[in-house]
Amino acid sequence: MKQMRSLLAALPDDDLTFLGSSPYVYHCHHFNLFHDQTVDDALGNEQAFAVKSRAAHEASWHLLADLVKSADAVTPAERLEIAAAALPWMGHGRLALLTEKHGGTARGEYLHYGFSWQEKYGSRVRRRHPADAFAAGWAAAATEVAYDLPPGSLRCREHACFACREAACTFEVEGGGDANLDTYVGKETFERFISPATVGQNEDTVRKIAAGLKDFVAGIESDERGLVQGFGVYVTRHLANYYDQTAYDTIHMIEREKPRVTEVIEELFGESGHVCVFYTCGGILASPEWEALVGPPENDPESIVVSCTAIARGLGFGHWSIAEMVPGERLVLQASSNYEAPFYRERYGKSEKPRCYFFANAARAFMQLAHKVDWQERPQLDDALYQSLFKSNLGWDLEMTRCQTRGDEVNEVVVTRRKA
């Protein structure tokens, strides 16, 4: 889609990518589903849907505003058309917006969350609550932008969902919204909170692979369903603010209301880091694309960690770098920029404890993939392998030693082999 491509921007040295001023990253459906599920578990389905759709609304509104401005779209019809075309480009499926000034309906097909949930879990679990809160927030924001309504004045509910075995997803957009668009975390915010790019071990290799991967993923097109498939997963070009806001709002709520399970929710959001590294980094390493661009992966822990670090940069997770790597023993991973810390600092101020859960747990998963997977055998990256690698006793201890959410210069995590 031409308009979306014209909005592509980056802080290339910091390995951050933006659509207009909105930060975006690549995440797969395994990560997305696990992330949303944790919000559902923490808050209950109804409140979780409200929190997720509000975060989606807030994250989408600025992107949609940038988009209609850059396309010089004046009429509501034009603007709705642009909003409808942008969602498939991001790999989120198709959403027909049938809304007017005071609301209306929307109908989704192949929406990322519902569709991929059905594919992943549908044969094992009967789902009874809708999955597409992101599309709901998008629909509300798109309608506000299309009709120049006050930002945050609408809300949207999903009444039927493909994940619940309905034929399509249906939404209702109406008044009574509570999205808050007063503060915004955009490119300028990132520039304030990130540090100059660090230089890590194997820097040249990491940089070179990351550059090739960035080019490659930028060229991936969605299919006619509005899905982006690559590396064996459904990929989304997703708004990072959505992840940050849903995770941190939920964690804060747990800290206030159910403090004794704070560690549990931190572990679950961290677990989504394992999920991402296993399916996305693993899927990339095992893919024909990687074999063509970089060569087949070898059973060498250092080279796997180098590759995973480059992949993180390539997907827009930030400037991750290897400060120290001792195969079999220890990894010190740093990030002078990531997508978690700037959001936290801007929205909630300084944290008292480290809070880059995704970054930290991804580092641990790097070590697990580097040491426990036989890459030359071209492993089946399926649930069974995942369970065997991540179900219990990973064998790696994790310490977040520095964190930008706490005001430290960089984010740093130390992964060490657990002593028997």
């Binding site: 498939q229 064996g232 899927g283 024909p288 694309e289 074999e291 063509a292 661009l293 071209r378 399926d382």
Partner: protein, 119 residues
């Protein structure tokens, strides 16, 4: 090393048997290898004649897409082939669909070989 003649060269483009490939997609990804190195343009032409079009024209990688959404990815340097069955094919039918795509690829290679040995 001297190259063998036409008939044996045809033999050199054989596909190894189809086996499940890596990936989380439950019988969606299948693998085989092209033994030998056919050139990209000719193979692309043959696959296009079989209803696939080239989606990715990176010099190191060919990805050919079928109108039904299936794909054949080919790493030109190593000969690795990955056949990807479209997500909307029911799980039970995926192996048979992959086998059909495999046969069409084998057919494309055979037609390329005969074109070569006629010249």
């Amino acid at each position: 090393m001297s190259r063998p003649g036409g008939a044996e060269r045809a033999e050199a483009f054989r596909l190894t048997p189809l086996v499940p490939d890596t990936g989380c997609g439950r019988s969606r990804h299948w693998a085989c290898h092209i033994e030998g190195r056919p050139d990209v343009a000719t193979l692309a032409g043959c696959l296009e004649a079989n209803g696939l079009h080239r989606r990715c024209d990176h010099p190191a990688l060919g990805v050919f897409r079928h109108s039904r959404g299936h794909e054949i990815a080919w790493v030109t340097a190593t000969g690795r082939i990955q056949i990807r069955v479209d997500i909307e094919v029911p799980r039970s039918e995926r192996p048979a669909t992959a086998a059909r795509l495999y046969r069409s690829l084998a057919g494309a290679l055979a037609s390329k070989q005969s074109a070569r040995s006629n010249t």
